[in-house]
Structure formats: C-alpha cells, structure tokens
C-alpha cells in the first residue's frame, strides 16, 4: 500500500510559478500591445480548454463535441446582443445557463456507454447542433453568421475598442475568476472523487460514491464554462459564425488540451497558447505545413511519451510542481 501516504487533500497554496504565470498574462497589454486581439482569443480558447480539462483530465470523459456548449453560449450572447440586450456580463450569465442546459440534457447519453459510444454521441450531438444552427438561418444567420450585435460598454464604462484592449482585460478577468472556481472544485473531495471515477469507475460505488450523478454534475459545470467562453468570443468579436459549433473546433480543442497536458488545469491554458500562436505564425505562411506538422507532432507524442501522453505530462509536472500539481 505504498501509495497511501500520498492520498490526502491537496495543498491550497499557490506555487510561485503559478503566480508568475498569471502576472505575466496580466502584463501582456503592456508588453505586446499590438497582439491583443490574438491574445484575447488565446485566453478565451484557454478557458474553453479548461472546461474540457474538467471532464477529460479529471473525470476521464473523452469528448469530440465540446463545441456544442461553446456554440450554445456564443449564440445565446450573440442573439441577446443582436436583439437589444447588449449588456456583456448578464450575457455571460445567460450563456453559462445555456451551456449548462445543453450539457445537462446531453449528459444522460454522454455518461452512458463505453468509450466509443460516448465519443460518437458527443460527436453526433455537436454535428446535430451545427446543422440545426445552419438550418435555422433566419435566427442564427446560418453560413453568413450573426452580426449587427450591439454589445454595450463593459461595466458601462469601457467600450470594446478596435485594438482589443478592453476585450483582453475582460477575457483575462473572466478566465481568472473561473480558474479560481475550478481550482476550488478539483481540490475538494468532489474533485478527488472524480479522479477516482476516472481511474476506476467500477470501484467507486463500493465507496458509496454516486458515479452517474457526479459525472452529470461535472459535465454540466463544464458545459457552463464552455458557454461562458463562447459568449466571450461573441462579445469581443461582435460576431458569431457557424464554426463555433464545428467539429474542427472540438477536435482542435482536444489537441490543445493534450499538448499542454490534461489533468492539471494549466494544461489547457498552455496548450491553447502554444497551439494558437504556432497556428497563427505557421498558417499565415502556408496552411498545409501547419496541418502536416501538427499531425506529425500528434503521432510522435503518442509514441514517444511513455505511458501515453497524459502519463508523460504527468511525470513532467510532478517534477516541476511537486505536490502542488495534484
């Protein structure tokens, strides 16, 4: 029973590396003033990846359709702004509800069945929503997208400017707040039980842990966060395109999370940053190269990493962050 001693509630203290990370992000408007548009997109995608980490890294649910919740949030905020209710923060709240609702409704099928069925169901639901949004073009704008959004000034004071400063600060604040909440969740007994479910779902009921209810709960929370990320994107770009619900968004998200490492909350943020910056640079040179090297990287990662990708990242982060990582 040598692993016993390591199992206790994790430390709530902040590791210095974490603090440095957040301060660096906060300083970006001063250091990279010309790249704030990309910056806020990175933050928003990081938030989205965070939501996937909750279900993938902590609860072990592999989803290829997480964009469904993201898109639901984006269209909710977008439609509100389009039809007169342009206040950003309440738009965020509405989007969170929308994302949670979709997640909750689909969780019953998503937490059932084996890995493959789950993958297919999440994929199928994502595609269905995409098609539904496409068909309901009168409401969503279809392929042309939803524009003419009148997003009001943030807190009534800060307008969304062209250079993206307000957008960046807004996204950063929301990301940080949600991160704090997630940190709380994963370090709680509830969070620990999720990891138990991920590692051995059959054994959990023996401990008195209601597996399905826990999974549905975390899936809904994840949906809410994805919805918030979607709303942020809609509000900061004042536009919602069909691609917010697309398969490419879900697949890219999975890749980002895995790149950074699932299961430690920072993986999504780091993966999103790496992926989007690299994509921005390489894609503008030649989109074909980007796709090819990304594919090669994925294949290489799967082979080179011992114990698989998640395992290798786990080793690295244990070494760097010690107990604070768990």
């Amino acid at each position: 029973m040598s692993g016993f001693a390591a199992v206790r509630l994790p430390d709530a203290r902040w590791h210095p590396a974490e603090v440095a990370f957040w301060v660096a992000l906060a300083a970006a408007p001063f250091v990279f003033p010309g790249h704030l548009v990309l910056g806020s997109q990175v933050l928003i995608t990081g938030l989205f990846a965070l939501s996937l980490d909750l279900i993938l890294g902590y609860a072990g649910i592999v989803s290829l359709g997480h964009a469904a919740m993201f898109g639901a949030g984006a269209y909710t905020a977008g439609l509100l702004a389009r039809h007169g209710w342009g206040e950003p923060l309440s738009g965020l709240a509405a989007a969170a509800v929308a994302g949670a609702a979709i997640a909750w409704a689909t969780s019953f099928i998503a937490v059932r069945g084996g890995d493959l069925t789950r993958l297919m169901v999440t994929l199928g639901i994502g595609l269905m929503l995409y098609e539904a949004a496409n068909q309901a073009a009168r409401v969503t704008g279809g392929v042309d997208g939803l524009s003419d959004m009148a997003v009001r000034d943030l807190l009534g004071v800060f307008p969304f400017d062209l250079a993206g400063r307000t957008a960046y600060v807004y996204s950063f604040a929301v990301l940080f707040a949600v991160f704090l909440v997630c940190r709380r969740i994963v370090r709680s007994p509830f969070g620990l039980s999720l990891r138990g479910i991920r590692d051995g779902a059959r054994r959990m009921p023996a401990l008195g842990s209601p597996v399905r209810r826990r999974l549905i709960a975390i899936y809904s929370v994840s949906g809410a966060i994805a919805g918030i990320a979607g709303a942020l994107l809609a509000q900061t770009t004042q536009f919602v395109g069909l691609e917010v619900l697309g398969f490419a968004r879900s697949a890219d998200l999975l890749v980002m999370l895995v790149l950074g490492g699932a299961g430690w909350l920072y993986g999504g943020l780091i993966g999103a940053a790496l992926f989007m910056v690299a994509q921005n640079q390489l894609s503008s040179m030649n989109p074909v190269y980007w796709q090819f090297w990304l594919g090669l990287l994925l294949v290489a990662m799967v082979f080179v990493a011992r114990g698989g990708v998640v395992g290798a990242i786990g080793l690295a982060r244990e070494r760097i962050l010690g107990r604070a990582a768990r």
Binding site: V62, L254, L298
Partner: protein
Amino acid sequence: MFTSLPGVLFDGVAYGSLLFLMSIGLSVTMGLMRFINLAHGAFAMLGGYVCVVGMARLGVPFLATLPLAFLAAAAAGAVLERALYRRLYRRGPLDQVLFSLGLTLMSVAGATYVWGSGQQPMHLPGFLLGQVRVLGVDLGIYRLFLVALVATITAALVLLVRRTRFGARLRASVDDAQASAGLGIDVTRVFSVTFALGSGLAGLGGALAIDVLGLDPTFPLKYLVYFLLVVVVGGAGSIAGTLAASLLLGLFDVSGKYYVPAAGAFVIYALMVVLLLLFPGGLRRGAR
C-alpha cells in the same frame, strides 16, 4: 410524390452500398482490435487518388484502376499496421484518437501538397454514363454498377467469413482475442490481414465514390462522421450490422434530402442519436 419513391429508394441503396464498402474495414478493425481508427477515411482517399492519377496520368481505363486502388490501399494499410498501429492496441481511447487524428491531418496535408485543394476531375467511361429505364423508373447506370459490385463483394466477404478457415479464425478473434491466442490462432496475423483487407476495401470504395461524392484532400474528415456513424450504429465487427446500418443511413440521407430538403443533413445525425439511445450496443446487439 410516390411515383418518385422507387427512384429515391434506389439512390439510397446505391449510396448505402458505397458507405458499406468504405466502412466495413473500419467496423471489423474496431470490433477486432478495439481500435478507434479515425484515419480510416485516408485509405479511401488514397484509393481515390490512385484511380484519378491512373486515369489521368497513366491512361489506365477506369475499371482497371479499381483493383489498383484496392491494392494500393491494402498495401498502405499493411505497412502502417505493422509499423504503427500494432503498438497502440493496448493504449487507451485518447491515445488512439490522437494518433489517428494526427495521421489523418498528415494525409490531408500531404494530399493538398501533392494534388492541390481542388476537386479532382474524373470522367467515367461512356458505357457507365446515363440512365436506363427499368420498370418505369430511370436508374443511373453507374449506380446500378455500384450496387451490383458491392453486392458481389458482400457475398464474397460473407463466404470468406463463414466458409474459410481464415474466416473462422477471424470470428474467433473478434469474439475473444485472448482465448483465440490461447488456442494457437496467430492473432497478430489475423489482425494484419484484416486491417489490410479493410483498408483495401476502403480504397476501392474511395475510387468508386469519386463520381458520387467527389474527391478532394478533405475527404477523410468530411466523411469520417458517416463511417463512424455506420460502425457504431451497426455494431463494430458485424458484417450484417454494418450493411444494415449503411443501407439505413443511405436511405434516410437521400430521402431526407429529397422529401425534406430544408432539414438536410440534420436527419442523419438525429437518427444516429435516436438509434444510439435505443440500441447502445449497435443494431446487431439488439435493444437493451
């Protein structure tokens, strides 16, 4: 409206046959090796490009390119299985998804680099073009050819699986790979041959699909969903289930587009979710 029904049904069956040919390899792979291979569409694409290149550059007649497409895809499958896939059979689903996704991206990028991002033009030989009137319904000659070909191949597959020793070994391995190995069956070899065969059939399907579905580098991603859909709904590892699912999906897709064009592709996905709810193990395993 009902006078059009036989024509629509026929189109649906033709489309379904094509889906079957392209998906059967994936179904058996998933049932046999329990491997989630998202890159299956890349083998179909390879077959398609072999056909186009054969016809355009080498002047090979269309019918002759079909076995070439099959062989090229089968060879690629055999090589990749040996070199890469084999090492990942015991890994979890996430690793398998990432690996096959990576492979797919590489194939899409590679195809774009070599052949450009446009649709590949392809001209069928004259005797396969046009329509023929059967019992008052205009049927496309090419689609008749497709259905006939797939029916033959299906019959051959069933014979292979039911009546040959290899088929017996295959069925045993699908049911329980560990026990089969224990009985002295060379499971590794069964895996290789099956993978190659499945990829080859996908390649053949890809070549046949050019006229119906078109061919461009995004083919593996575009139709991935349909292949997965067929496999999951039909039940991995089952020929009958895959056939039933392909035909069902083909029929629903074509009739949906014909009778309710406004609903479009939505019908397929809605159908899938419904079927998965009713039959979580796939059509073959029946209702739970």
